[in-house]
Amino acid sequence: MNEIKKRYWKGIEEFTNDPEFVKYAEKEFPEYLPVGNDTGESSRRDFLKLMGFGVAAASLAACEAPIRKAIPYLNKPDTIDPGIPNYYASTYLQGGDYCSIVVKTREGRPIKIEGNKLSKVTMGGTSAQVQASVLTLYDKERLAGPRKEGNAISWDDLDKEITEQLVSVLSVGGQIRIITNTMLSPASLRIFEEFKEKYPGTSVVIYDPASSAGILQANEANFGMRVLPSYDFSKAMTIVSLGADFLGTWISPTEFTKLYSKTRKVNANHRKMSRHYQFESNLSLTGANADYRSPVKPSDEGEVVIGLYNLIASKAGESSISGGKSDFRYLKKAASDLWSNKGKSLVVSGSNDPAVQTIVNGINSMLGNYGSTISFNRYAKYRQGDDRAMNGFIDDLKGGNINAVIFYNCNPVYNHPRGAELAESLKGVPLTITTSDRMDETASSVTYVAPDHHYLESWNDAEPKKGYFSLSQPTISPLFNTRQAQESFMAWTGREGNYFNYLKEFWRNNMYPESANFGFQYFWDKSLQDGIYDSKIEEENNAAEQNIDAQAAAATVAQNYKGDNGLELVLYYKVAIGDGTQANNPWLQEMPDTITKAVWDNYVTISHSDALEYGITTKLGITNMVNLTIDAFTVKLPVIIQPGQAKGTIGLALGYGRTKAGKVADGKGFDATPWIKSLNDNSYYSVTSGVMLEVNDELYQVAQTQTHETFMGRANVVQETTLKEYQKNPSAGKRHMRITTWMNEQKSLSLDEVTLWKGHKYPDHHWGLMIDLNSCTGCSACTIACQAENNVPVVGRVEVINRREMHWIRIDRYYSSDASLDDLSGLEVASENPEITFQPMMCQHCNNAPCETVCPVAATTHSTEGLNMMAYNRCIGTRYCANNCPYKVRRFNWFKYHDNKQFDENLSMNNDLGKMVLNPEVTVRSRGVMEKCSLCVQRIQAGKLTAKKEHRITTDDDIDMACASACPADALVFGNMNDPESKISKKLKIKESEGDGTIHKTMAEERAYTVIEEVGTRPNVTYLTKIRNKDSEEPNT
């Protein structure tokens, strides 16, 4: 390499060796900088400068935002990818309530529950309670560990003390009772058996708050099987329900809704649907869906059922039984419809009286329904409660004959009518244990609490119906120092090991079929992955042997069903709160009642004419308080005037008035459980005599999310027809809006042709939602599913009174009115026994959205896929969009609902534990911004990504909205309207036509309509007309 000869100069100064340059050459900054003075000492000025800088820097540093650490996994579990949800099949079990589910977890946290479509029992449906149960997991009021007399104790000490005491009970040959609600888990039952083997004085007492013991007893007497049959509503063309709320609360509503809704789907090729009669006192969800509904008093229940029996018997040529009347409205019609659909009909009764159920069995038997709509092959196990045994247990307890009581996940002190007696007599029992998850009413009356895991933390199995098995698996590590109750029993039995191994072994020995090919591990993994296992059973008509003594039953009925001609009280369960087990769940408390749309309360429902008589008025939820006196016990309750309530009856919901469920539930409403009566030794949910009602001068406001009851005859909102009309013309009931313009008065144009709007072109996807008004039962599972999916806050009773509930999807419930269309004030008043329409309403994702044009900051805009989008970060909260929304579906954040003590009932946003339920894919909205249904845009994005990774376009399987997937009636269908193969395109028969650069879609489905079409918003949400299976449009009064 050549020697470098070139020299580079920094500047002319260096070249000339300028003395000024040489002087500073060694310094950091060769040129003169005016820092410091020549002596190198600091001046006062410098001191002040540095001081000023220091103070400013220190104060700036103090302003730094708090550091929030996002810590990566040290050892990343191979199944968890941050940001990617995992799904686990599991089983929801709550007493006898069952649902096969798929749990969505994110980073190890269960955040959402979906139905398991593989299940032959629930078929992918869910209910509001199932949807909400994920929040109960994160309830701060669950016990953090075992308790003895309310104080913390270690599991070891607890086991030691309990075992010692059990052994001492055993040594004196004492009596032990295990009290449980219906137990669907075969492995757990086996554990009880083993416990019994160890402690022979043990017996298991099963009771259910909502008892079906009457059916069990009747079936035992009639068919020799103490079980519930399998009801197949999907095969029934005529359904008669005598007070059974099978779509709402009766036995297995999710399953029944799935089956029932199959008979309610009509289209031009299938112009048939079931006809549903309902005879009941309160207006139940099921009654609201009935084609013919007849209000009857509970004291007439016996006459109705005998009347129906005799009507059928006379057609069948059988001998009639004594008593009964047939002049109840629609009863004869029901009988003739039943008879003409012999073998394809179904009569169910919600009665808990074996005599009534025997007569119902007799009717079904005459109709030949056994073996078709009713079957014992896959009999159901949902309700095994034995009211007599439970009463016997309480009597024994009072007699001091019991030495130890173990309550397995049940709360009889609260939800059994003799709960107070029970609590009192428990004091004398030496050993009392419960496995409650919280210090509830029963837990507070016992010595030891051995809290069970939440079901989402547990292993378990279930057999809801004969041969249909399913598994539960934990989806999160236990949050607290709780222990699976089965393991507690194993510990007290002296059995080693954990329940998981026990369960697996149990399945190896009992469920694993000999014929399986791939070994047990494969069978186990497959069952666990699917969540279910269906064992084959032999089909036989095991109801062939019948021994139905209807005459004897009629004799008891005649004795028992007498009113005193005064008011009669009918107790009922609400769809959301049920028996009150999940009462501390704010989602359920704030779920609008399916009928009254009331939240956070129970109240007396009274018919309009009775209200007039008592001088009760309700306006916008402000109502009189009444003193209700039964058995010399008086309580003050608010009243709601309920259209459809049978005259002379009042209704009152159970499941309220909790005292020890937690902050959310305590003190909400009134506990009516002590008023559950006894009839033929069974719980009887009506009070037919001695009911005194007195209006007092206090007023109360029941929080209701809907206060206007009728749809004012507006056919642009609700479009309906009867089946008869539909059979003649599939577009019956649908309004055809046409516009005539001055340009051509002869020719009318469709609404699409007269518009100021340019229209949109959706090149890739065009999302749409179809809602079948005929399928929607109003069960509101979608409301809760949406709440869980989209982090919708709970606002509390007062804010609902202020009309500020936040639900993105609401179920509008409309009563019909008797008034003519001109009588506007008359139209506001619902009929005495109205027809009911449920209309799910959420953002309609208008193609010409009124909200989009008015936002000053363009915070709500239109996507290229037809969505109306909301940019929360951009919203400044002028609320103009909400005002200009003709559907009133926009929700404003009036306050800060998260991290705000004022809204501490909003559990999912106000404590660290509750926040674990939040869906990380959906922003928690801040105060002052507008929000609304996004058509689950996060699910759409996820589905699109899945499809993109596989280099294909999305299909129906990739994306479903939270509401649509939760719906047990399949009333909502979501999909891509650009895809001719999608379900929605096929159902709506979408036809595309192109014009001036945009694509127009027309829906050839005759029933399809959009709400308030004439406003020209052109929504992407389409409704199908409601069809009632009526002979004529007679008023239903």
């Binding site: 509008d812 900051v857 009133k888």
Partner: protein, 452 residues
Amino acid sequence: MEVVSSIRTPLITGGKSVADVSDDICRQVEGAPSRSWMLAIAVSSSFLIVGAYAVSVLLWEGIGVWGLNKTVGWAWDITNFVWWVGIGHAGTLISAILLLFRQKWRMGINRAAEAMTIFAVICAAMFPMFHMGRLWVGFYWALPLPNTFGSLWVNFNSPLLWDVFAISTYFAVSLVFWYIGLIPDFATIRDRAKNQISKNIYGVLSFGWMGGAKNWARYESVSLILAGIATPLVLSVHTIVSMDFATSVIPGWHTTIFPPYFVSGAIFSGFAMVLTLLIITRRVFHLEDYITVGHIELMNIIIIVTGSIVGIAYITEFFIAWYSQVPAEQYAFINRATGPYWWAYWTMMTCNVLSPQLFWIKKIRTNIAATFIMSIVINIGMWFERFVIIVTSLHRDYIPSSWAMFYPTRYDVGVYMFSFGFFFTAFLLFAKFFPVVNMAEVKSIIKGYSEK
């Protein structure tokens, strides 16, 4: 050179000389505050303080402290906004349009009317601010400012954005117009001032006005130019405000009649407010000779005219609802008159349509007490007009399930009180420290009649 008929009645009574004018008007500014002024400012500032509490709660807690709900998203906030904007209109009408039409009678009242405009517009602008869910970003996001949020721009389709432009333009023009008019008078006060502080303050305020011929020539031409700019604003501002409603789809809002209807309503209420203020001012400050019964009568005539226009507009809405055969539209109007808010509707009808008709009677329209009462009645009526339009249209629109009622809370009232407190405090400070009558202009008309 103006020629004035000898039979024309004098605009300024009491045979005032030029010096009298200066004395009479400057007396308020120079003297110690009167007892009645102290009392008035005590009342109005206590309103302001109570209102400030309500405003701070509103801003701290959220819009939820108001009685609004999912169905009625605007109520008192926008009612107050429209009401205050409307009130402002009279000032501009008096100073701009009447200037262009050479209506000299305006000179006695235009200063106070313009001040009222300024303060009313400030009060009006408060409400769109306070009603925002997120004021802390909204106050500048609503402006088309270049930003670093990407290409994030305001939505020029939104009538609310038009409002932003309309109100800010209106405020700016009104303020400049008012201030230009004040300059010669500030100079007068400066020249008369005996104490150095006043001299300095009014010296700065008067922008070095020398009173030279050139000064006056420029003053005249600037006034004329500003009047020309302000005149279309009288029509445009409330037209745009009305478009907040007219361009929407809500029955009762979606009406093409709104622009003229709103503008006449604005002038109607504005004159009523001018009357309220001036009747008090002339009494308190003894300005009976400058603000005469003649002024009051002329303003009352404008009130009859605009009140009748408004009345016709109300009836036209009903006719169109019937004629349209749109059921939702028809229901909206039947509900207005007979629904749960019938009382608001009939208050509006009585106050706005029936009561101004009394002014056909000369005795009433020249009676100061009657005029004062009427001016308040009209402002109540006009407040209810906006309430009726906003709340009764929203509370029952298309989907009956969402129908709801609106009940105001104490914070609705409190924030309204705040605007009143601000308005009257500001007006009283103006009346004390600024010349309430345009001395320079009034001096030009004291000899405005033929008797020399």
